[in-house]
């Protein structure tokens, strides 16, 4: 099935193009284009399933580049609904009908597909590129000593802020909690909602819980994720009270009306109009702001939320999702080849150029000045990178927790019943896991 451009083909193609170019430049270019298309058409085209509808063009651009480079490319197979997507992979994972490559989530969700033998072992590809990827990213996809995916994206969870709004309010990115509180109060006094928050799609409920807990006590966050602390512990309760206090002060957008996606009430439009000053989100959200007409570095910047407890270690939430080769896919060998290309310098350069993402590969620089600055801050500051809530703790707990956090964002009040409900699920889940 696979058909690479052979050396002879290449020489013929290059020779013809060179000779033609000298004599008939236009005709030679057209001929080269035709031949390139023919090479693409002859290449194997795999299916790359994902639930990232807005990434379709990026996937296809990278897929075409792969087809030209190694003779194996891919087309995006889109699922607009994450739930249907997960169900499709789970039901087809054991069969040859499974898409050759698919995007997934790291952490506990990944462990499930590894345990079910749905993901191919890609350790040799990682070993080949060992010098160019951090151990943290590798560890996120490692189970039982083997690596089961390539990083499709990496993102840090930071506060993106509107630079014009900050300038007008005479604010600079805060470096202490007191400064952060002052920034929120100043924005509010100027009629700007300090922080963007939403419950659109349910999952964003955990965002501020995660961040405030991390800023108060990173050790407690880690213990909570591992089932070694309880949601009803005083440290967690006080974090919720802190969050509730900020909600009461009107520092967040109405979570029921703002959406992350498209439509009249999407966050980007509020942010662009300067109605909202900041949002705690993954850096993968930057392309959405860019497509909304905002320029990184000029219109928006990023900073890491300061620690509430100044003596707490420097930490930042990190998120990554794998691109997985289907263990039982019909074109597994070709899919391995495609993944090998994807992790290569050339593959990453194409991907980062198409997406505007940060590359986890250290010899591929980001195109965004915001990300470059952030990368430098994290590296120089010696920030410890912790896994995101969504991936860091068992999914049964996450599912209950996000609903409860959504409830808290909408209704506020005493956090204890919310935390007790989550802890009840945590007790059940950890009892079944241990």
């Amino acid at each position: 099935m696979s058909s690479e451009l052979t050396r002879n083909d290449f020489l013929k193609l290059g020779g013809a193009a060179a000779a033609g170019a000298a004599l008939f430049p236009k005709a030679a270019l057209a001929s080269l284009e035709r031949r390139t298309r023919a090479a693409e058409a002859a290449a194997t085209t795999l299916k790359l399933a994902n639930d990232k509808v807005t990434w379709k063009a990026w996937f296809n651009t990278a897929g075409q580049a792969a087809a030209q480079a190694v003779g194996v490319g891919w087309d995006a197979l889109e699922y607009s609904d994450t739930t249907s997507y997960q169900a499709a992979i789970r039901t087809s994972g054991r069969t040859s009908k499974v898409p050759d490559l698919y995007s997934w989530w790291s952490g506990w969700l990944m462990k499930e597909i590894v345990d079910a033998d749905f993901a191919a072992d890609v350790t040799p590809i990682w070993n080949k590129n060992a010098a160019h990827y951090s151990k943290g990213v590798r560890d996120a996809f490692t189970f039982g000593g083997k690596v089961y995916g390539a990083p499709l994206y990496v993102g840090y969870w930071v506060l993106l802020y509107n630079k014009h709004v900050f300038k007008d309010a005479k604010l600079t990115p805060p470096t202490t909690w007191a400064q952060f509180e002052k920034a929120m109060a100043t924005l509010k006094a100027n009629g700007i909602t300090p922080l963007g928050a939403t419950i659109d799609g349910r999952w964003p409920g955990f965002i501020y819980f995660e961040e405030f807990l991390l800023r108060s006590n990173p050790g407690l966050y880690q213990r909570l994720m591992a089932g070694k602390a309880k949601y009803t512990d005083p440290g967690v309760v006080s974090t919720m009270k802190l969050w509730g206090g900020l909600i009461d002060k009107g520092y967040f957008t109405n979570p029921a009306s703002v959406t992350l996606g498209t439509g009249a009430s999407n966050f980007t439009s509020y942010f662009k109009q300067g109605k909202v000053g900041m949002v705690q989100i993954g850096t993968w959200f930057e392309p959405s702001l860019v497509s909304g007409g905002l320029k990184p570095g000029t219109d928006f910047g990023a900073f890491i939320m300061p620690n509430i407890n100044p003596s707490a270690p420097k930490v930042v939430i990190f998120e990554t999702g794998p691109l997985v080769v289907a263990e039982h896919g019909a074109n597994k060998a070709d899919a391995m080849k495609a993944l090998d290309y994807f992790m290569s310098r050339k593959g990453q350069a194409t991907w980062v150029k198409a997406t505007g993402f940060v590359s986890p590969r250290n010899d591929v620089p980001s195109s965004s000045p915001v990300d470059r600055e952030l990368g430098a801050t994290i590296q120089k500051g010696g920030y410890k990178q912790l896994n995101r809530y969504w991936e860091a703790t068992p999914h049964d707990i996450v599912e209950v927790a996000v609903d409860q956090f959504d409830k808290f964002m909408l209704k506020g009040g005493d956090p204890l019943p919310i935390l007790t409900t989550i802890q009840k699920q945590a007790d059940k889940t950890w009892a079944a896991t241990k």
């Binding site: 997960q86 597909i113 345990d115 029921a256 439509g263 599912e399 909408l410």
Partner: protein, 292 residues
């Protein structure tokens, strides 16, 4: 094989394709769902038999209770609004000259998908920029503006309204057909006897309309139990599971949380309820229809 034996077999051969299809696509999946509901299946790996654990967990699950109550809201809401309004509109339209045009207008929402209806009404109900709150503020009724899809049970009622908007047309049309098929004689006889419009409707039109009412109520009942797409698009059963119905809970448990065994138990309970309601309803309706 003798001719007589072949003759005896013939009816069964005619039946075989349908029996086969029903067996493969209905009975087998149904039996498999019942079996799954007795396991701790997660959709991945091997499941083990847990007896009635899923069913006892259902009874204790507050999310299931909310979902059950919401399903009752849906059934009652759809019956009252869709059937009641459908009948009222059919009565009004049957006596206006504009019936032909209005029929088309009222039927129009039924031609779009439930998902599209969900998207439209999601924006209508948006608390900040939604059409409904904007209209209320414009009319000086800003005090009535609220987050329609947030607070229970308002969120369920809001979605029932959206569902009614879409389902009203077909219901109205069915009643119009029913009204046209009513014989003129009993109505004229009642008018000659001096019956008022209300008495005429209550004692003559409505009883004569009963066969069509049976159909409309039956369809509405089934639709209200199985409504899923509209809810999934508008609220995903949220926030905090406050607007789930049994159909949504079944989907969520099976395909969001991957408690496939538990989800199957919800499916079995939902099917059992619909089955019992359908049997009682059809039994009652057909008995009455025969009397008339």
């Amino acid at each position: 094989m003798t001719d007589s034996r072949l003759g005896r077999l013939t009816p069964y051969l005619y039946l075989a394709p349908m029996v086969g299809l029903v067996g493969v696509f209905l009975l087998y999946p149904a039996a498999d769902t019942i079996w799954t509901s007795l396991t701790n299946s997660t959709g991945l790996g091997k499941a083990s038999f847990v007896g009635l654990d899923n069913y006892t967990a259902l009874v204790k699950d507050p999310a299931f209770t909310t979902s059950f109550v919401n399903t009752l809201y849906w059934v009652a809401g759809v019956l009252v609004l869709q059937v009641g309004l459908g009948l009222a509109m059919a009565l009004i339209l049957s006596s206006t000259a504009l019936a032909k045009v209005l029929k088309g207008v009222f039927y129009l929402p039924a031609t779009i998908s439930a998902a599209a209806t969900g998207v439209i009404w999601y924006f209508v109900f948006n608390p900040d920029q939604g059409l409904l709150n904007s209209a209320l503020r414009l009319l000086g009724l800003g005090g009535l503006a609220k987050s329609w899809l947030v607070d229970p049970p308002t969120n369920t009622f809001a979605m029932i309204a959206a569902f009614t908007w879409q389902g009203l047309g077909p219901t109205m049309l069915l009643f119009l057909v029913g009204l046209q098929n009513i014989p003129r004689e009993p109505i004229e006889a009642a008018l000659v006897d001096g019956a008022s419009h209300l008495r005429l409707f209550w004692h003559v039109t409505l009883p004569l309309l009963r066969p069509m009412t049976a159909v409309v109520v039956g369809i509405s009942l089934i639709n209200s139990f199985k409504v899923f797409d509209l809810i999934w698009v508008m609220t995903q059963g949220g926030p905090y599971r406050s607007s789930e119905t049994l159909a949504v809970t079944m989907y969520r448990e099976s395909f969001v949380s991957f408690h496939v065994g538990y989800g199957a138990a919800v499916a079995v309970v939902l099917t059992a309820i619909v089955f019992v309601v359908a049997v009682f309803y059809l039994h009652a309706m057909f008995r009455r229809v025969e009397v008339y």
